[in-house]
Amino acid sequence: MASAASTSQTTIGSTGSGDEFYAWCARGELRLRRCNACKEWCHVPRVICPACAARDWSWEPVRGTGRVFTWTVVHRAMHPAFMDDVPYAVVVVALDEGPRIVSRMVDCPPGELAMEMPVEVVFERSERTGQRVLPRFRRASQSTAAGAR
């Protein structure tokens, strides 16, 4: 990450729709909405369950492991908050439980990204989002990857 001094002052706002999700992240836990009626995972959170129409939810922990499903390496930022980050890779991680989540890698240069690479979640405080703690990913350790599958 760029140092605070060189970082654009622009910050990323929040509409509030992710507050519960990020509150779990701040405690070091990756939790997703899961329907108590049909047990389907639901990311991003919805008001009612798209699978069964119930509105009875839990925030359940996921293992935090998954695989890189796809990515893009951004060489020209379209948003001023990220001008100092380029090049950076946005990854879409398919969690082992099924849902996919947008994130970034913390330990993998863009050139070393590979499809289906096993990854695991870490948490990182982000200046861009008013010190919000974000879920990021790193290469899975051998034991984690083996445990995942």
Binding site: I12, G13, T15, W71, V73, F82, V90, S103
Partner: protein, 390 residues
């Protein structure tokens, strides 16, 4: 083609402004759309008072201000189809039904913007409320720097390249075809600026795999079409183009692009069989295709979703000049959003009408009788219209 159904809706008027990239340009979104609308109404041989329906593009001008400026005193139908770049073609589909129901007799569909001299995409992204997904994009995409259509669609292209072996050179074939066609179009912004595959491959990387020359233009311009009933169309002077079948659909979920069970399933995949069914034709009957080309891979993707080839074969499909003039199925003969202008897809409808009227000059597809035009919007909304020479 099977025997044509009677009473199809018809496109009877088209109008365009000059398409340009000029920082000193002064026309606003509304001003551009009014100029194109007046041209389309005149082209149809109608009076402004004949327009009794209007279907504006979302967020670029509203029906009230369009109608007030145009002095259309008899408007009884106004609606906007909220499908981003799929809106103009989806509006054709809805307009046809509205006309058939007798709720309007002449519908104006305008679209366009001052996207070069006015606010640019990089400024619009500062307000996620203007973007598809709204709060979802703001709270789950933006914190990671996933902030723009180029990036959202790049992840689809990247996965497609992995699963199906789609190549950068195949994306380039789409860009090169568009640029080649633009050389034959006096209103194309990129006329006079030829481009080879080598030029394409050497262009700056923006959001891998998208390079600069994978991306649509930022331009000022507007276009409009007028749609009426077949009965009314017979009395008008302009070349008549029939809407044989049109449809639109959303992907699921439409507001979140990463969590689709089938990652490559878009609205067009659902809409295409409906439109072809209504028209009673098959893809092999088409003489040309105007495909919404915000980025090169979206053309390859839509070729698959249209059913022109199987999933995963879109990259090979565009090779060898198949989509160029003289090829099996010429696409985007105006140069498209990539090389004519980004007029949010309504320029694709206008070009299809010109082809079917035989007005395309040196870029004319010989004996063009049937073509398809598609729209792509937001996170994969899709629309298509199958048009024929009336």
């Amino acid at each position: 083609m099977t025997e044509r159904a009677r009473n199809r809706a018809c496109i009877v008027g088209i109008g365009e402004t000059k398409y340009q990239r000029d920082r000193s340009a002064t026309l606003t979104n509304l001003g551009l759309q009014l100029e194109a609308s007046l041209a389309a109404i005149a082209d149809a041989g109608l009076e402004r008072s004949d327009i009794d329906g209007v279907m504006p593009f979302p967020n670029l001008a509203n029906a009230e201000e369009l109608v007030a400026n145009l002095g259309c005193e008899n408007v009884r139908f106004a609606a906007t189809v909220a499908m981003g770049g799929a809106s103009p073609v989806a509006s054709l589909a809805l307009a046809a039904d509205v006309l058939a129901a007798g709720r309007a007799s002449a519908i104006l569909i305008p679209a366009g913007w001052a996207a070069f001299s006015g606010p640019r995409t990089r400024e619009l992204v500062l307000d996620p409320a203007r973007l598809p997904g709204g709060a979802i994009a703001a709270d789950y995409y933006f914190p990671h720097g996933f902030t723009a259509p180029m990036q959202w669609y790049a992840v689809m292209a990247q996965r497609h390249m992995y699963e199906f072996g789609t190549k950068r050179e195949q994306l380039g074939a789409v860009a090169v075809a568009a640029r080649r066609h633009a050389q034959l179009n006096p209103n194309a912004v990129m006329r006079g600026r030829k481009m080879t595959l080598e030029d394409y491959l050497a262009s700056p990387m923006l959001a891998d795999p998208y390079q600069l020359l994978d991306c649509c233009l930022e331009t000022d311009g507007a276009a409009a079409v007028v749609v009426t009933t077949e009965e009314r169309a017979r009395d008008l002077a302009a070349g008549v183009v029939r809407i044989e079948g049109a449809a639109a659909a959303q992907p699921h979920p439409a507001d979140e692009i990463t969590n689709r069970r089938d990652f490559f399933r878009t609205g067009l995949g659902a809409a295409a069989p409906e439109a072809f069914g209504r028209a009673g034709v098959r893809s092999g009957d088409l003489d040309f295709a105007m495909i919404y080309d915000c980025f090169t891979f979206e053309v390859i993707h839509q070729i698959e979703e249209l059913g022109l080839c199987k999933r995963g074969e879109g990259g090979a499909y565009v090779e060898g000049g198949r989509i160029e003039l003289g090829g099996e199925l010429p696409m985007n003969t105006h140069g498209g959003l990539l090389s004519e202008a980004h007029v949010v897809g309504i320029n694709h409808i206008v070009e299809a009408v010109k082809q079917l009227r035989g007005d395309c000059g040196e870029r004319q597809v010989a004996d063009a009788e049937l073509g398809v035009v598609t729209g792509w919007g937001d996170f994969g909304d899709g629309s298509l219209a199958i048009l024929s020479r009336g």
